[in-house]
Symmetry: C2
Subunit: 326 residues, 2 copies
């Protein structure tokens, strides 16, 4: 399919994503206005994904677009922020055609509806290398109420939403490493890898009582380490309490070695947070209200670092605690 020129492509595939926000000027100007409630704090986050590192071409443009947006939304969730708008910068290889752009912008359009967000600006350029896509996302949070990584207190419990390790297993499956899996729903694990669910509503509710929080992107143990480091506490994780999907349990029963991948592999985009022991009842109610599993997986003590305890309470060591970006 022949491609129209740059300005035609922007008008056709990206301008509709502004959903008529007058501040976006139909993507025809040098910059845009961020229109938001200026009685709220404005939060910003940026995330960049690269073909061959964060996804492969066979993930398809719809999944690539939606994961990029969701990864950014997850950063807002981690701060307890409400999504407002975003800008998109694309470095596109020559072989990207209109069908690809239609799939990519279609994926964004679908998720914009789901998460109540829209595009306000962007940049497109060519690259001689792999596709690189960067979203910078904006959100609102009541003044001074942003959830951070540095507020965990000795005695706090540590919780995580959803289930952990599905995406890591999905990646292993995609790479052909996860074999002999007579799993009921192999698609489930791939879906968890490709379509993480940012915990937007949960993040905003956590502002009421959580003392610290972040989203698990680089591996549960490494990310727990960030809370420990910045909050100046030690964290004990109890491995046998980790929430696992039925599909992940089937993998672990088959080969217990997968557990290691699951807690260090990352890409979960679940919320990991600390809260006082007294908040346990509220957290249980919230879990029911939002239809979102929330599981206590550890606690904070005086000291530093992360200790993982196995089924019999013995410490378990991990050579690699999580994903390093470079």
């Amino acid at each position: 399919m022949p491609r129209p020129d740059e300005f035609g492509l922007i008008a056709r595939y990206f301008a509709p994503l502004t959903e008529n926000d007058p501040g976006a000027f139909d993507l025809t100007d040098d910059a845009a206005l961020i229109r938001h409630d200026n009685r709220q704090d404005l939060v910003v986050s940026t995330d960049c994904v690269v073909s061959g590192v964060h996804f492969t071409d066979d993930d398809g443009p719809d999944a690539i677009a939606r994961k990029l947006l969701r990864v950014n939304l997850s950063d807002l969730a981690a701060m307890g922020a409400r999504p407002v708008s975003y800008v998109l910068a694309l470095a596109l290889p020559r072989q990207v055609d209109e069908a690809w752009l239609a799939g990519f912008s279609g994926g964004l359009a679908a998720d914009q509806k789901t998460y109540g967000i829209h595009l306000v600006g962007g940049d497109t350029t060519a690259t001689g290398g792999p596709l690189v896509a960067t979203i910078t996302i904006f959100g609102e949070v009541p003044p001074g109420k942003m959830l951070r990584r540095n507020g965990a207190k000795v005695g706090d419990d540590l919780y995580v939403s959803g289930t952990i390790g599905d995406a890591a297993l999905g990646l292993a499956m995609k790479l052909g490493k996860l074999k002999g899996l007579a799993a009921q729903q192999p698609d489930f694990l791939l879906k968890r890898l490709r379509y993480p669910e940012p915990r937007i509503e949960l993040g905003q509710r956590l502002r009421e009582f959580a003392t610290s929080g972040l989203d698990v992107s680089d591996g549960l143990i490494q990310d727990a380490g960030h809370i420990a480091d910045y909050s100046h506490v030690a964290i004990t994780l109890e491995l046998d309490t980790f929430p696992q999907s039925v599909e992940a349990q089937a993998c672990v029963e088959n080969d217990a070695g997968w557990l290691r991948e699951m807690v260090t592999g990352g890409d979960d985009y679940e919320l990991l947070f600390t809260a006082p022991v007294a908040a346990a009842g509220m957290i249980a109610s919230l879990s029911r209200e939002l239809w979102t599993p929330i599981t206590r997986i550890g606690h904070c003590r005086a000291g530093r670092g992360v200790t993982v305890l196995g089924k019999q309470g013995q410490p378990v060591l991990f050579e690699r605690q999580g994903f390093r970006h470079f």
Copy 2:
């Protein structure tokens, strides 16, 4: 030189660029706060540069960093905005070492001082391809006062700041296409390519009287076409009035064919704007006050498109009007 880990590199080279803005949280969190005067409109722009497309490795990390920041600052200038802060996303090839990161962050640090701006957040990741760097920049403008592309009126004059074509010649020189140049200062043209000067102060002053404006990034003729298109006017450009540097004049005297490159090559990052005829005196004063050449190069009439007139008033045709990104 061995590289420390991701978090060590961020702490060493990028956290200092936040200049202790408490909203940046030393780059240790999932997101940052954009702290700005909330009685002003908040403007956002994003620009992405790719090795092999916008620069080559021999430009060096200092120039790459500064050009990326300046190109973004130029977008703010074009809107009449005051720079506030920015976020940076980097996709880094494996061969990028600490010396490179030191040069890159050093370039940003130098220009942060010059332009009164600082870093508030970012993302770093690996890539198997060329380096890609994306800046999303924030600026402030008094409510409703943003300078746009769509306000030119029939009868307005068209002006441009500085000189046009130096960067296009600098690129030709870099590519070894500009030969036999016994120019006084060959470095001047390369410098104009590598270190564009965003017209920040001028852009803010233009809000007083300009009816439309943008920064010349993709070629003077093509960018003039954007004003014509979005303002629904025709623009006549008078080629012999175009402001040229002494160095560019020397090239044109040598080979008149270079003129074509100069007006279609782009990368000027000068401001192109329209203003009523009555503003001529104010513009002359402003030019003196800011020590910035501002030259009348054409005017707006009823109709559409851009007509370029040569020395004898004959229309000059250009096959290619400017740079297309993809």
